[in-house]
């Protein structure tokens, strides 16, 4: 937990949030945790990208989430 809190502090120290007019209360914690999650999922996305590039060099094609994979749910 301490590690998580320090990560949050570090993340919020190097970045700022643009606060706009909103009728919802976004919640400070909910805004700040997005910064942390953005870093984590950004690293994971980069890792997945390079992994698939590397595998494709060896002719291995991976099943990936289509960018619009969720579209089909609403197509008639």
């Amino acid at each position: 937990m301490k590690y998580f809190l320090s990560l949050l502090k570090l993340t919020t120290a190097v970045a700022g949030l643009r606060i706009l007019f909103a009728y919802l209360d976004p919640g400070s914690g909910s805004l700040i945790v997005q910064l942390l999650i953005a870093v984590v999922v950004g690293i994971l996305a980069t890792f997945r990208f390079w992994k698939s590039r590397l595998l494709s060099l060896f002719g291995i094609r991976q099943e990936t989430d289509e960018e619009d994979g969720d579209d089909n749910a609403n197509e008639n």
Binding site: M1, F4, L5, L8, T11, T12, A13, V14, A15, G16, L17, R18, I19, L20, A22, Y23, L24, P26, G27, S28, G29, S30, L31, I32, V33, Q34, L35, L36, I37, A38, V39, V40, V41, G42, A45, D65, D70, D71, A73, N74, E75, N76
Partner: protein, 469 residues
């Protein structure tokens, strides 16, 4: 506009509101939302979302309809035949609604806009599929901004879905208590420890709840020039968060095999010929009534609802068992049905009017536009399983619709014997003749048929006009 009425649940967003005039639902766009509305319409986002059945289509009506005379635009959206709420949805209905919301968010970001709210109440089922009904949910995306509706998405969709999937399906009912979604600290405290093994749940729910706790009543850090690209919430980062939520939601499953009702029709409720006979009789009754809208109460997986929906009636298929409703919904999706809406409601405690001044969410009965109610194999559950007197049942059902197709299940029936197996029979008045007498006070019995291979009986009844006896 002389005779317009604002919808009770439409007061939070200062950008507009919903009102009803001459029986039609309209949405007013306020002047303050002008630039966002124009961007929605001119950026092709509206056309794309409507084309993909993700957003309710609308036409622009005359500004003279504005109840306060101050609207920038008055929209007349396509009318939805029945408004349902997330606590009335099965697991997959809520999951599909969540995925539709994320799909809309991604598309909005691509068009330079963003969802400013992510309320589950803004999603409704039209033609069997979820879509956004609030055309004012979009605002211009500004570089560096966080997703203001992220917390709302997690409370309205993610927390209930994770609780239903990983703890207990019945926890969806927490949404009835917490009208703005399940508080994340509550969800976190209810979830088993093994959910810490799921990265998406850890980030969006467990750590999110802790961050909320940590920064409660504190201002977030103000915008400053970011020192590096990585430490900034740009559009790509918001897309990544959206993808992560999508992947987390997609990974949540619920298998209804543990509930008893989803396999009801595979059991021995009737011998096969009894089922067929009942099916034939219900079909015949429906051909007499020809309803536009039918409510099937105690529908189980919707076998009899489909007689009506296949005839073209919009059918709300209601059951109290989450497994039965889930099976019903998955079947309707598989068959691409457009006229059937499965709904999770316990008729012994139907959805009440909720929210501010009890006016934000209507009760189940308030939303009834049915001209026919189907109540098959239901009366014994209400009368014997829940001690509701027959007269009360008759009054409630007759108040819902003009026509009633109802089945009487006598005490000699195996299903009633099960209900009485562990309790004293205090139901001396539960007889066929008492049933007919009580219902005849309110309704005219138009037709009546016995069901082959059983001692059950079907009735077609019509409510007597007010004042008639």
């Amino acid at each position: 506009m002389s005779d317009s009425r604002r919808i009770g649940g439409s007061f939070r967003d200062p950008n507009g509101f919903v009102f009803v005039a001459d029986g039609l639902v309209y949405r007013q766009v306020n002047e303050g939302y002008r630039s966002n509305y124009d961007q929605l319409m001119e950026s092709d986002l509206y056309a794309e979302l409507v084309d993909r059945a993700l957003l309710i289509p609308h036409s622009e009506a005359g500004s003279n309809l504005s109840p306060d005379g101050q609207g920038y635009k008055i929209l007349q959206p396509e009318q939805i035949p029945f408004i349902s709420y997330p606590y009335e949805w099965s697991f997959s209905q809520l999951k599909d609604a969540a995925l539709a919301t994320l799909n809309i968010q991604r598309r909005a970001l691509r068009h330079g806009m963003i969802l400013k709210d992510a309320s589950a109440y803004n999603i409704q089922f039209r033609h069997g599929k979820p879509l956004l009904i609030d055309s004012l949910s979009f605002e211009t995306y500004q570089d560096g901004q966080a997703w203001v509706a992220y917390r709302q998405f997690c409370q309205h969709f993610l927390a209930p879905l994770v609780l239903m999937s990983r703890k207990d399906i019945r926890l969806s009912q927490l949404l009835r208590v917490y009208i703005d979604g399940i508080p994340l600290d509550l969800a976190k405290s209810l979830l088993p420890k093994r959910t810490w093994l799921n990265l998406g749940v850890v980030m969006h729910l467990h750590l999110h709840a802790r961050a909320q706790q940590r920064y409660a009543n504190k201002k977030p850090p103000a915008q400053s020039e970011p020192t590096s690209r990585r430490g900034r919430l740009d559009k790509k980062a918001l897309m990544n968060i959206c993808d992560s939520l999508r992947s987390t939601v997609n990974g949540l499953k619920w298998d209804p095999k543990s509930t008893s009702w989803a396999r009801y029709y595979e059991g021995d409720s009737y011998r096969e010929e009894g089922f067929d006979d009942k099916y034939r009789t219900v079909t015949e009754y429906l051909s007499i009534v020809k309803p536009d809208c039918l409510w099937d109460l105690g529908a189980n997986t919707g076998a009899f609802s489909r007689i009506a929906s296949d005839q073209g009636a919009f059918t709300v298929s209601i059951d109290s068992d989450p497994g039965a409703v889930e099976a019903n919904y998955l079947q309707s999706i598989g068959l691409n049905e457009t006229q059937l809406h499965p709904l999770l409601v316990d008729l012994t405690n139907p959805s009440a009017a909720l929210g501010w001044a009890n006016g934000e969410r209507d009760s189940l009965a308030q939303r009834c536009k049915a001209d026919c109610v189907l109540a098959l194999a239901l009366v014994h559950h209400l009368a014997i399983g829940n001690n509701v007197p027959l007269r009360n049942i008759a009054k409630y059902l007759a108040a819902l619709a003009e026509w009633l197709i109802i089945e009487f299940v006598p005490k000699s029936d195996a299903k009633v014997k099960v209900l009485l197996a562990s309790r004293q029979d205090i139901f001396a008045d539960y007889t066929q003749s008492a049933f007919e007498d009580v219902f005849s006070e309110i309704c005219e019995i138009v037709r009546s048929n016995s069901i082959q291979s059983s001692e059950r009986r079907l009735y077609l009844m019509r409510r007597r006009p007010a004042g008639a006896s």
